[in-house]
């Protein structure tokens, strides 16, 4: 079971149980947050204090990426094909709403304390404090997002030039798998991209992070996007790491656009080198206890004595400790 896309329709894979699991996995949340931040960076939006943007989040799932958009101060609309994932997103927004209401109720009693804590929370070096307070208010308010239950492969149900930008986190590759006779990946991709072209306002940009299974898939996706008139390119971060590698399809209307260089962490490379070369000591940070016990891939006398004691405590039959216990044997190899 390597790829969820091969198990079936997205709304079937992301059922209620899977949706809850997805949303509660701290690792998942961390990864999705990072990817979203990187996508927002690639979007090159105008500063929020100038003008918050209206952003479409395709395949928004349980709202993890939407939350990051909110923290940046944007208004967003998310769409997803799985009702269960959207329900989880709704719950999360409900909880946030209740938290905010509770906070408002508490802070209204003690206004002075609130202004002080507001200043602490905003560690932006902005000279205009009023503006900062206002935008932090928007951020601290209930969710600025709206959800839609929709299949992106059938086009986007919005009127032309609606959105300032579009992001998609780990969703696009689902279009490459057909779940019924009538679903042809190329057709669905083309349909999606041509409607995206229409609903983005001119000068807007789309950053779509996806997981291509093969190089052909990545090419197919890029080609379909280019065919409808988009300019852009694929930015690949950490291309040498199987785990950290991320593909971002950046789409613009500007033909002169040149895709930026992907991130590559040279220290990441260095670390992997270390682990391979010093096998014995390199694992120090990971398993300090083990390296103390192990001595040149062997077992020390102390360890043997300790082990025998624990076995005795369990009630097992153990030979008594003598001066021969753990003595160095003649090297047979």
């Amino acid at each position: 079971m390597s790829r969820p896309e091969s198990t079936g329709h997205a709304s079937i894979f992301y059922n209620e149980k899977e949706a809850k699991k997805y949303d509660s996995s701290s690792r998942m949340i961390g990864v999705q947050k990072e990817i979203t931040e990187r996508a927002i960076e690639l979007l090159r939006l105008p500063a929020v204090s100038e003008k918050p943007s209206f952003i479409l989040d395709v395949g928004c799932g349980s709202g993890l990426s939407g939350k990051v958009l909110e923290e940046h101060g944007h208004i967003w609309v998310g769409c997803d094909i799985s009702r269960d994932m959207l329900n989880v997103a709704n719950e999360r927004m409900e909880n946030k709403r209740m938290d905010v209401q509770r906070r408002h109720a508490d802070s209204s009693k003690d206004h002075q304390m609130e202004t002080h804590s507001d200043d602490d929370d905003d560690d932006n070096a902005s000279s205009d404090e009023d503006e900062e307070d206002e935008s932090s208010n928007m951020r601290n308010s209930a969710s600025t997002g709206d959800l839609l239950h929709h299949d992106m492969g059938t086009g986007l149900p919005f009127r032309p030039a609606t959105f300032d930008a579009c992001i998609s986190i780990s969703a696009l590759q689902w279009l490459c798998y057909s779940n019924s006779k009538s679903q042809i990946p190329k057709k669905r991709l083309t349909r999606f991209f041509s409607s995206l072209y229409q609903v983005l306002r001119r000068g807007g940009r789309a950053v779509l992070q996806f997981y291509p299974e093969t190089a052909e898939q990545a090419v197919l996706i890029s080609e379909c996007a280019a065919k409808v008139g988009f300019a852009g390119g694929v930015v690949v971060d950490y291309p040498n790491s199987a785990k950290a590698k991320k593909h971002y399809l950046v789409l613009t209307f500007d033909k002169a656009y040149k895709a930026p260089q992907g991130l590559s962490d040279s220290s990441l490379m260095g670390k992997s080198h270390q682990v391979r070369v010093d096998k014995g000591n390199g694992l120090r940070s990971k398993d300090a206890k083990r390296s103390v016990r192990k001595k040149n891939r062997g077992k020390t006398k102390d360890w043997i004595l300790q082990k025998k004691q624990t076995q005795r405590n369990k009630g097992r039959d153990v030979r008594p400790d003598t001066s021969y216990t753990g003595r160095k044997r003649r090297d047979k190899f």
């Binding site: 209206f54 609309v77 209930a142 839609l148 059938t154 149900p157 919005f158 609606t162």
Partner: protein
């Protein structure tokens, strides 16, 4: 579903000539006050379809009265948007408009766009009559096989 989102929603069922704006038939509405960012509301005004907003407001008014109690009044909106917002960048233009009127107008817009949530109901395409249902505040825009 906020009225802001509704202002942009369109039906793209195959064979629809103009699936906009969708008629709202609300059966459950909620009100959620949120802090106002005047500048943001001004910016948004240049992008929304005002007549669609007006009709949406009228469509939800009755439901608001029954669901939100009689003390809640859906702010009324002028038939035509004040001139300074209907053009693109007319901020520097004539400032004859009364400051308080302006602020009141922006406040009403904010309430209608952001604070009123349609939780249950239907969206109806003006062209084909196709109904999209809204459940838990989420409109279901999934198309059938023959509508793609």
């Amino acid at each position: 579903m906020r009225l802001l989102t509704h202002n942009y929603l369109q039906s793209n069922v195959k064979g629809t000539e103009k699936g906009y704006p969708l008629t709202i038939e609300p059966t459950k509405i909620e009100y959620e006050e949120s802090p106002i960012d005047m500048e943001f509301v001004e910016n948004i005004l240049t992008k929304i379809d005002y007549s669609a907003l007006l009709s949406a407001r009228n469509q939800i008014e009755d439901r608001c009265h029954s669901d939100l109690g009689s003390d809640f009044i859906v702010p009324s909106l002028p038939e035509v948007m004040p001139k300074r917002y209907s053009d693109g960048n007319s901020k520097d233009d004539k400032i004859e408009e009364d400051e308080t009127n302006q602020e009141a107008f922006l406040k009403s817009i904010h309430t209608i766009l952001f604070d009123i949530h349609v939780l249950e109901g239907h969206l109806v395409c003006p062209d084909t009559g196709r109904r999209f249902n809204i459940k838990m505040g989420i409109p279901n825009m999934i198309l059938h096989e023959d509508e793609i």
